[in-house]
Amino acid sequence: MKGKWLITVLIPLVLLIGVLGWVLKNGAGVEKDPAAPIEVLNIERIKVTKIGFELFVSNTGPKPLTISQVMVNDSVWNFNVAPQAKLERFDEGKVTISYPWVEGDPHTIKLITENGIITEGEVAAATLTPETTWSNFLNYGLIGFYVGIVPITLGLLWYPFMKRFSRKSINGILALTVGLLLFLFVGTLADGFEIGAEAPSVFQGNMVVIIAASLTFLLLIGFDQYQQRKQEKKGYSPFGLALLMATGIGLHNFGEGLAIGSSFALGEAALGTFLIIGFTLHNITEGIGIAAPLLKTTPRFRDFLLLGVIAGAPAIVGTWVGGFIFSPIWGALFLGIGAGAILQVIYVITKMLIEDHRKHNEESVSWLNLSGFAIGLLIMYFTAFFVKF
């Protein structure tokens, strides 16, 4: 009996392997050779050094390729590829070009393969790429601190003021938080898609964002349900909710750090400075959001500190990653996780709001809540003006 069961599993499997083997051996029956050579060379990162440029490249095409010529700003230039000019599939290499670049000028670098396929890389405004030194590490960390922890802590400072609010007003503030978070969710997702699109196409950056976001969302919800059943608790403790928000916002701030760090790494220092100012202003509101669930409780000072660090410190890490080891595919993954985490927070707060109003026989979409939600969205919309160009 058991043998029969096994056979019914095995028969389709063996047949499938047979079919695949046949196709692999004989081709699909259409055309065998591609009309043009398919070569996909990716420039993952361009480092501007004192001597010239260093390009980190990878071959993500189906076949090996050879880098034969390099042009910088429409001029054929000498170059060196380590370990060698021929890259097997998924091989990585470093192209070193000695070139007298000009501070602040754009530089276009073309890598030409043996088959004449051109891959173009751009240095938007040449400036020395920050080296991974202790002092740079410290400076980047300070920027992250400035953008992440400082504004969120400042936002948390409004806690005593908010503390005077009534239950309905507190719910209004929570609705405002949902507005803030919705904006952050969409923004984080869009940033993820933007960065994901820059990743080599085999990695399907956009799908990475979607997979990371949906899995994070579902995993967090699943984890919550498991926790609740285990502890036989109903709903979240206010601090638990604030912690949840801080985590979601933290992942989002990682993305902000990434943006700042990479803009400095790419030589766009002016943009980086502007991003710092913009994000700092923007993030004050995040502090308000995190404080909102705590209004019914008596938090201790260290609770605030913890929340500020959880929500803000990822900005520091993001700045480091962006400045020193940025790669689009990792950026896409982290921003996807951030978006999923924010979505879960939206879900939890909304559910909590609805349940609270139902308990008191009120409509959950009250004028107060609606205004709160709208104000939340609008605050984010207008403060985001500082970081959009």
């Binding site: 004192k50 001597i51 010239g52 050879t66 034969s68 010529q69 042009m71 429409d74 001029s75 054929v76 230039w77 000498n78 000695s98 070139y99 007298p100 670049w101 501070e103 602040g104 073309k110 030409i112 043996e114 088959n115 004449g116 396929i117 051109i118 400036t127 020395l128 920050p130 002092s135 740079n136 400076n139 300070l142 920027i143 601190f145 400035y146 922890i149 400082v150 802590t153 400042l154 948390l156 400072l157 806690y159 005593p160 503390k163 005077r164 009534s166 400095f264 220092a269 002016a270 980086g272 400075t273 700092t280 019914k296 409780t297 008596t298 938090p299 201790r300 000072f301 605030f304 500020g308």
Partner: protein, 338 residues
């Protein structure tokens, strides 16, 4: 407000301190940060210490297939199979085969070319004014092609009719007028057929021979690799930096005659500039045309002429397109005078 116990005043102060600390930190950040916000390093001598001695870039002495082709085309002239007709006229018969062939156009770069007899540019046909010419053209390529010769001949020999793959055709006409002519494919789409490599020089010598000289053939051209209507490489005789890495050897005071033509597609003009010397330029290779004594000339697409020059000093003389962009993309070389 059900909760009675509020956050203590002391706690608020502590939080305020954290915030103030942050603000103070951010203030100092601006002063301490090493990240440049203003342009600076352009006159930094550090990156000039790299390997940037003049034209040290693009140096490669390897004798590649592409270089061999360019070198061969520099001095090889195809006089055809010569016989005498009963009336005493010289008959020259040439074999011309259109072949699809991958050409090395710069070190390590393969270009899927369409060629006459397997090179880009094609062979340099040569004859004397008044000869009867017979070009036996066989199309072994994948597309219809033709040969359109410049010069004076009956319109039915003008190469406007497509010769299909596998077909052949014989162009027959008398060589006139003397001078430097060119030939190229004239099948539509024209730019694509020419750019792919179907062109070359065609010299009709005057009946009274020119003064003996070291004769060089140079065809200026370009290659558009990504088909965006812009060339990635510019060359003479089809190979980037050919004569820069292998200078053309010349004797001091020797007369040098260069048959120069422009068959660059996608750019209106190309040019020839010689360093540290002057030359005489005969447009279209005619002695009776107003000539120029200069160091720079330019040619429109299809224009050609003869350059005659002697070098009074020994040493290395550079020549290149005076469009710097073309020069840096491959159209640059040296004469080495001994």
């Amino acid at each position: 407000m059900s909760e009675e116990k509020k956050v203590s005043r002391r706690d608020i102060l502590k939080m305020g301190t954290a915030g103030a600390f942050g603000i103070a930190g951010s203030y100092y950040l601006n002063k301490m940060t090493q990240i440049p916000t203003v342009a600076q390093a352009s006159n930094d001598s550090s990156h000039k210490k790299g390997n940037h001695s003049n034209h040290a870039n693009m140096s490669d002495k390897t004798i590649t297939t592409g270089y061999k082709m360019a070198e061969r085309l520099l001095t090889e002239f195809d006089y055809g199979k010569v016989t005498k007709l009963p009336n005493g006229q010289t008959l020259r018969e040439y074999e011309v085969v259109a072949i699809d062939k991958e050409i090395e156009i710069a070190k390590g770069i393969k270009f899927p070319g369409w060629t006459y007899n397997g090179t880009i540019p094609g062979p340099t046909f040569r004859c004397t004014e008044g000869d009867l010419l017979r070009f036996n053209f066989i199309n072994e390529g994948s597309h219809p092609h033709s040969i359109h010769f410049h010069g004076i001949h009956p319109p039915e020999m003008d190469g406007l009719t497509s010769i299909y793959p596998g077909q052949r055709f014989t162009y027959e006409f008398e060589a006139k007028p003397y001078g430097l002519q060119i030939y190229h494919c004239h099948v539509l789409p024209l730019a694509r057929h020419i750019h792919k490599g179907l062109y070359g020089n065609f010299i009709i010598d005057p009946k009274k021979p020119r003064e003996p000289a070291l004769e060089l053939n140079m065809v200026m051209n370009g290659y558009d690799l990504d088909l965006d209507g812009e060339n990635e490489f510019y060359t003479v005789n089809g190979y980037a930096f050919a004569f820069m890495n292998h200078p053309i050897k010349i004797k001091k005071d020797q007369l040098v005659r260069i048959y120069l033509s422009n068959l660059t597609e996608f750019d209106l003009l190309n040019s020839f500039h010689l360093h540290a010397n002057y030359f005489t330029y005969y447009p279209t290779g005619r002695n009776d045309n107003p000539s120029q004594f200069t160091d720079t000339i330019m040619q429109c697409q299809g224009e050609r002429g003869i350059i005659e020059v002697r070098f009074p000093y020994k040493g290395i003389y550079m020549f290149h397109a005076h469009v710097s962009e073309f020069a840096e993309l491959g159209w640059m070389g040296f004469f080495e005078v001994e």
